[in-house]
């Protein structure tokens, strides 16, 4: 046994897979302590906030300021102000009016602005330009003028008793606040989803739930498959025929369709994570049973089994000591594969909306479902679905890698 464990950890594929899986597990266990709270709590009120650090504007107004005169502050401000579409429109105006722009660099805000200031004339009516477009250019010009003039912003408050507007604070163009001094700062590494939930927190919790579902489904499927395979293989005869009949039924009916039907028939309210896990387990034991059965059939005629029978050992004892240890390595690998396929099955189910209850725990599939339902992919909110896909891929990948590594250890002909 010790020797086997040492061999297993020498296999590079197993070690890599194991490390990835452990990293995911550890993150899943430790992160709730760093960032406690209910992952399903909605903290955003809009939809799909981008990842980043969010600073409370209200608090920063009343925070102590420091003055910095940064050389490129103005330019940065204007850069932010002028979107790339605006710049392109300005260039179009220049071209329509006939100004030479061959030496103009569109990203150089100062040059662009000076050229605009020098040449813009609202009275000009370039050929092919509609009235709406001219109005647009007028508005653009006005906003440009407004932007560069103000030096200070004033925050006013309406006094409740007197009804007067009272000045609250003055914000100078060179005023900066230290983010650490602001009372409320929220870092959202993966932004929020459409409900306004912290995606990262949700993802970690979902990961945990999905792995839990995978483990339960895998365990259920492996145990049922092992028991049925052992009985069918060793006892043969009527028992074998009966179990094979059952297996054939389950093979012929596509397991996924069965899964959908069962989940559909269970009311949404009663579908907890464990229920879904059980259902997945109960429909995916078939191939494990089949392969265990064929292994047991080849084992039961071995000499050591015959000698055990001649020594008068009871049936359970023979199965436990003479047959089970010989297929243990195989069952281990089958379990890992079942876990992987269980996680994927849950993800698929949840994507279709037939997964666990949406109000209790998030799962990876559910997150995908929401992202899809609320068109995250269409409005560019990659953070709502892309990390989920990566996590599913990594979990599957690491489990399969561990499996391949184990396979190489137990089957020497596959070693490279």
């Amino acid at each position: 046994m010790k020797n086997t464990i040492r061999q297993v950890f020498h296999s590079p594929k197993f070690v890599v897979g194991f490390c990835i899986f452990m990293a995911i597990l550890l993150t899943m266990l430790i992160y709730p302590f760093i960032n406690p709270g209910n992952p399903l709590k909605m903290i955003g009120l809009g939809t799909f906030a981008k990842p980043g650090t969010y600073v409370s504007l209200y608090d920063s107004v009343t925070t102590e300021t420091s003055i910095f005169k940064l050389p490129d502050a103005d330019a940065k401000r204007l850069d932010k102000f002028l979107s790339s579409e605006d710049r392109v429109s300005m260039v179009n105006w220049f071209t329509a009016v006939g100004i030479d722009i061959s030496t103009l660099d569109i990203t150089d805000t100062n040059a662009l602005l000076s050229l605009w200031k020098a040449n813009y004339d609202p009275a000009l009516k370039p050929k092919g330009m509609t009235k709406a477009q001219r109005n647009y250019y007028n508005r653009l010009n006005d906003s440009l003028n407004a932007a560069s003039t103000s030096d200070t912003l004033t925050v006013t408050e309406v006094d409740a008793s007197s009804g007067e507007t009272v000045e609250k604070a003055k914000i100078g163009v060179n005023d900066y606040v230290n983010v650490g001094n602001v009372a409320n700062v929220k870092t959202l590494p993966l932004g929020t989803d459409n409900f306004g939930r912290d995606t990262l927190k949700e993802l970690v919790a979902a990961c945990g739930t999905s792995i839990e579902i995978g483990m339960i489904a895998g365990a259920v499927a492996t145990i049922i498959g092992l028991l049925l395979g052992l009985l069918a293989g060793y006892l043969g005869g009527m028992v074998d025929d009966l179990i094979m009949f059952l297996t054939n039924i389950f093979t012929v009916i596509p397991s996924f369709v069965l899964l959908i039907l069962i989940n559909y028939s269970i009311n949404q309210d009663q579908r907890g994570a464990t229920t879904v896990a059980l259902v997945i387990g109960l429909t995916s034991w078939v191939w494990t049973a089949r392969s265990v059965r064929s292994q047991v059939i080849s084992l039961r005629n071995r000499d050591h089994v015959n000698l055990s029978r001649l020594s008068g050992h009871s049936l359970p004892r023979i199965i436990l000591t003479d047959i089970l240890p010989y297929i243990a390595s195989y069952v281990m690998m089958a379990f890992i594969l079942q876990v992987s396929s269980g996680i994927l099955a849950e993800a698929q189910l949840s994507l279709l909306g037939l997964g666990p209850k949406t109000t209790e725990v998030p799962t990876l599939g559910l997150m995908m479902n929401w992202a899809m339902l609320y068109s995250a992919h269409l409005n560019g909110s990659w953070w709502a679905y892309f990390p989920v896909i990566m996590v599913i891929a990594f979990i599957s990948f690491s489990l399969n890698l561990m499996n391949t590594g184990l396979d190489q250890v137990f089957n020497p002909t596959l070693r490279d």
Partner: protein, 290 residues
């Protein structure tokens, strides 16, 4: 007993005397019309076809046949591992009854086996101590004190020229083929059955170590008065060690008698052909009759 001092030679000298009182000894295992048919209907195969046999106590019987002759099937039926399709097997004069699990266990206290491949005869997860302890338990020694058990195991290993002290905590597959087969004989020494069925025990052993195994089997027979059923395809081997020989072809016994009768003066055509097909060294080997 040391390994290089084989006493097989002396045993052969004693054989004529042993054969004299063979007929007077009681029957330990016999059968009438024993048949085994696999499959049903048109696709039946008759593996063993109405065989009759009589094995006396203390006899060394060889069952000789080529592969496919049905000797393995017959051995499994004699061991009680396979059901008999028709015919009767008599154990110690009475019809054998192994209908319940309890009766089977009782039967297996009297008959044991050694198989051809020593590597697959042992469970790779059991250490040697476990294997031998299992035998002690089966003979009712479960409640003996630990020292007595170790003494019994040491004695058994000594009988087969292995040192128990060196074998503790080792696994059977760490030994060589010959050593493992000797360990199997040590098991039989502990179990002390009345009948031992040896299914080609030396075919996977080097020629140099073969004599040791045969010698030990014969010593075991002398020590506990055991009947040995020696199943083999090697007719020379059966001639060398057995008292009686049964020749099997296509599920039937075509000839039987004492070793001298069957091999030096065969009557059946199959036996004659079998003997002529084996290379000889004392007489010229006729290659023309192919």
């Amino acid at each position: 007993m040391t390994t290089s001092e084989c006493t097989l030679h002396e045993d052969i000298a004693l054989r004529p005397k042993r054969l004299e009182d063979l007929a007077s000894r009681p029957l330990c295992l016999s059968g009438k019309g024993v048949t085994k048919i696999f499959g049903t209907g048109a696709k039946q195969t008759v593996a063993v076809d109405h065989v009759d046999f009589e094995f006396h106590e203390g006899e060394l019987v060889s069952i000789v046949g080529e592969s496919g002759s049905g000797k393995t099937t017959l051995s499994k039926m004699l061991l009680g591992l396979l059901n008999v399709t028709s015919g009767e097997i008599y154990y110690q004069g009475k019809p054998r009854d192994i209908s319940t699990r309890h009766k089977k266990r009782e039967y297996w206290k009297g008959i044991q086996a050694i198989f051809q491949d020593p590597f697959s005869s042992f469970n790779v997860f059991n250490k040697i101590d476990t294997v031998l302890l299992d035998c002690i338990n089966m003979c009712g020694g479960r409640h003996l004190p630990k020292e007595k058990k170790i003494e019994m195991m040491t004695e058994a290993c000594c009988f087969v020229n292995l040192k128990f002290a060196e074998l503790t905590n080792k696994y059977p597959f760490e030994l060589s083929g010959g050593q493992m087969q000797r360990l199997m004989i040590a098991r039989v020494f502990l179990l002390k059955p009345k009948i031992l069925l040896a299914d080609e025990p030396t075919s996977m052993i080097d020629a140099c170590s073969r004599a040791t195994i045969l010698d030990m089997l014969l010593h075991l027979r002398d020590e506990i008065g055991m009947t040995i059923l020696f199943i083999t395809h090697d007719i020379g081997l059966s001639y060398y060690i057995s008292d009686s020989v049964y020749i099997m072809e296509h599920g039937k016994f075509v000839e039987h008698g004492t070793a001298d009768e069957v091999i030096l003066a065969p009557k059946a055509a199959y036996t004659k052909r079998l003997i002529s097909d084996v290379p000889k060294i004392y007489e010229p080997w006729d290659l023309t009759t192919v």
